[in-house]
């Protein structure tokens, strides 16, 4: 026995099944407990997710990146004062702060579509995917006659803050790009929420959602196509939510056949 290591781990002889799932299976055990290697792996994933929740979003950087593509932005903040309040007061995250409200009220009104980017629960999701999605979607919109509001960049926002912004700017359809609740293996998921005729008080069954936009999840290009498809359907059907079903066909070409009747324009 001299010099030899005693094996303390009990292996799980079904590790071949790991190819069927990302779930943490066949981890083995020491006694009946989790081997340290697996315990630390889990801890690292949790640390990344925690950091994602607390990392401040770099909205100036986002604004610069959008400006370089010729896209105008507005810097806004919700009524929330810090990260802790953001986590405990979803009601405040749904309302604009006083100064931001003033900024918006002085803007020109009346657009077909408005894009809103908010940190939500994951700054990395914004840093990695939001600009790509917004720019790609704007490219498609440029090929149409749709009028688009300046992109609102909102710190400490919840999904519903788009309703207040959309209403003040007089927007028919809002697309809110927001950092989602981070998963252990996906701290960087971006969500896109579409709301037709936004106005405060609207609830989730009136929205369409595309979630898990991230490298390794739904990739940016596919997310843009899906947002374009749902936007087109929403403007034609004049609704979002449970009445608007995702029936996008494989060869869908965004906005190809879009005709929008604008009352009063």
């Amino acid at each position: 026995m001299k010099g030899e290591k005693i094996s303390v781990l009990t292996r799980d002889p079904w590790d071949a099944l790991q190819k069927f799932t990302e779930a943490r299976i066949a981890l083995g055990r020491c006694g009946s407990s989790l081997p340290l290697k697996e315990s630390l792996k889990f801890k690292l994933a949790h640390a990344k997710a925690r950091d994602a929740v607390h990392q401040p979003v770099q909205m100036e950087m986002v604004a610069e990146q959008l400006a370089s593509q010729g896209i105008d932005t507005l810097q806004l903040v919700s009524s929330v004062k810090d990260r802790e309040e953001y986590l405990t007061r979803p009601d405040k995250g749904r309302c604009l702060g006083t100064a931001s409200k003033k900024v918006l009220k002085n803007q020109p009104k009346g657009y077909d579509l408005g894009i809103i980017i908010s940190d939500g629960l994951s700054a990395p999701a914004i840093h990695q995917s939001a600009v790509g999605v917004a720019c790609g979607f704007m490219e498609i919109l440029k090929t149409t006659s749709l009028s688009v509001a300046p992109v609102s960049l909102v710190r400490y926002g919840r999904v519903a803050i788009g309703d207040e912004i959309g209403e003040i700017l007089g927007v028919q359809l809002t697309v809110v790009l927001i950092g989602e609740r981070p998963g252990l293996s996906s701290p960087n998921s971006l969500g896109a929420y579409l709301t037709y005729a936004p106005s405060p008080g609207i609830t989730d069954e009136s929205r369409n959602c595309i979630s898990n936009i991230r490298p390794g999840g739904m990739v940016v290009a596919e997310a843009i196509r899906k947002i374009a498809y749902l936007s087109e359907r929403a403007l034609v059907q004049k609704m979002t939510g449970v009445g608007l079903k995702d029936k996008m066909i494989e060869g869908y070409f965004p906005m190809e056949n879009l005709v929008v009747n604008r009352p009063g324009k």
Binding site: T21, A23, R24, I25, S32, F42, H46, L87, T88, S185
Partner: protein, 453 residues
């Protein structure tokens, strides 16, 4: 301060231990002193007042009507002279035996249970809950002394049956799955639900596993599946403690009754006929704007009033899932989990806890270990078993198969006896309930090839 003139609803809210959801609702005590003074006032409230003064009016809410109409006055008689504080003291005496508490249960209303829990410390909640015994049966016997059951939760983000089967095998090899093998489906339509039900039924059938399956979808979808001839063991539903909150879940008492009867009609249990599986959690009513100014813990107890009407096999409080706006950190999650378990047990329910947290809550695995250890000592009926504690479909952290093995080993607890016998027959557990190394030749390892894709 005129605490004595306060309504029960206000007094309960002021007396409730501090948590973010009640602050969000604007009903919590303004400061620590006000909270403790409210608790002192609550301690002097006679239990009989709870039968005269409803926290949500009788006329407005069918859950209140259920609680009042089904109250058993005879069972209540022995404690009818107590105040809430005296009730707490009595519960801790040796006079309050397992038998006494079982007989008393139909005489206790959810609000009485909630009120007394607010006056109790953690050790009180543990000691009293451990005296309660609730036994339920379907294909095995759940809740016997010396046992702790586990729901095997093999979720997969695209409902891939091979992925689900792989996680199921993993859990079974760690002695988990006696409470139920229960999938949260990613796609919620009747075709998909039926496909998953057949898959689980096939596994249980071919390996003769003494357990039950469940696909956690809305009762109306389950009823449709039953109507189409799908093999439904347990009928699942999320429930809450007010009529309005239940409506936001798309259910009412009449619909639950219909679902209960439809599931009973299949007669698929061979040990007993507890066929319902309910999930609850503090904060769900407020998130649906349906809390009526009542604190979240009292409303949670009222959900147990709904549950007990239908003699469930399992009731699960998913304590940390809802997020920090309702339970901010490990300390709040911990206390809420123990309160829920205590109230459920006092009301006669087979109470399990999904010991869990999300990544935006101030909590980690250490907090979960503490709650798991305390619940194990409280006689918790069942916990969740998720591969590596990481649910890759629902994106939150629960307890793992390893966690289940830890608490069983520490407290010398076994699975339900029928399931333990099955584990022994497959050389997964020894007679003492300890895990055995799995041989490559173990026939359970063929499970994944059984699955029809």
């Amino acid at each position: 301060m005129t605490y004595t003139k306060m309504s029960l609803r206000e007094l309960l809210a002021k007396a409730t231990p501090f948590r973010s959801g009640d602050v969000l609702a604007g009903i919590a005590a303004a400061n620590e002193e006000e909270r403790v003074r409210a608790q002192m006032t609550l301690a002097d409230v006679p239990l009989s007042r709870f039968l005269q003064e409803c926290v949500i009016p009788y006329e407005e809410d069918e859950v209140t009507r259920l609680i009042i109409d089904e109250h058993d006055k005879e069972a209540f008689a022995p404690i009818s002279g107590f105040s809430v504080g005296e009730f707490r003291d009595w519960l801790l005496t040796d006079q309050a035996t397992t038998e006494t508490l079982t007989q008393l249960s139909p005489g206790i209303t959810p609000e009485m249970a909630a009120a007394v829990s607010k006056l109790m410390r953690i050790q009180d909640l543990i000691l009293v809950a451990a005296k309660c015994q609730v036994i339920t049966k379907f294909r095995n016997t759940i809740g016997l002394p010396g046992t702790l059951s586990v729901r095997l939760q093999p979720n997969h983000p695209t409902d891939d049956v091979r992925g689900i089967a792989a996680s199921t095998l993993d859990g079974l090899c760690y002695g988990c799955g006696d409470a139920v093998i229960g999938i949260n489906p990613a796609t919620d339509n009747v075709e998909n639900i039926t496909r998953l039900l057949h898959m689980l039924d096939g596994l249980i059938e071919s390996y003769q596993i003494p357990t039950q399956s469940c696909v956690l979808t809305h009762v109306t979808t389950t009823m449709e599946a039953i109507h189409n001839g799908a093999p439904v063991d347990l009928c699942f539903q999320s429930i809450a403690g007010t009529e309005k909150a239940n409506r936001s879940f798309g259910v009412d008492l009449a619909l639950l009754k219909e679902a209960h009867e439809a599931t009973l009609s299949l007669g698929r249990g061979n040990c007993g006929d507890n066929v319902m599986y309910f999930e609850t959690g503090q904060g769900s009513a407020l998130s649906a704007n349906a809390n009526h100014g009542v604190d979240q813990q009292t409303i949670e107890a009222r959900a147990y009033g709904v549950a007990r009407k239908f003699h469930p096999l399992l009731v699960n409080t998913v304590v940390g899932f809802i997020g920090p706006e309702y339970l901010y950190n490990g300390k709040q999650i911990l206390r809420a989990g123990l309160e829920d378990h205590f109230c459920g047990k006092l009301l006669g329910l087979p109470m399990g806890v999904d010991i869990c947290y999300t990544n935006h809550a101030e909590a980690d695995q250490d907090d979960m270990d503490v709650l798991l250890t305390l619940l194990g000592n409280s006689g918790c009926t069942f916990i969740m078993g998720v591969p590596g504690a990481d649910d890759i479909m629902l994106n939150y952290q629960s307890t793992s198969f390893h966690d289940a093995a830890y608490i069983r080993k520490l407290l010398n607890l076994k699975p339900a006896p029928e399931f333990q016998a099955w584990l022994e027959s497959l050389a997964i557990h020894d007679k003492a309930g300890r895990l055995l190394p799995i041989e490559k030749s173990n026939r359970l390892l063929e499970l994944n090839t059984e699955v029809n894709v």
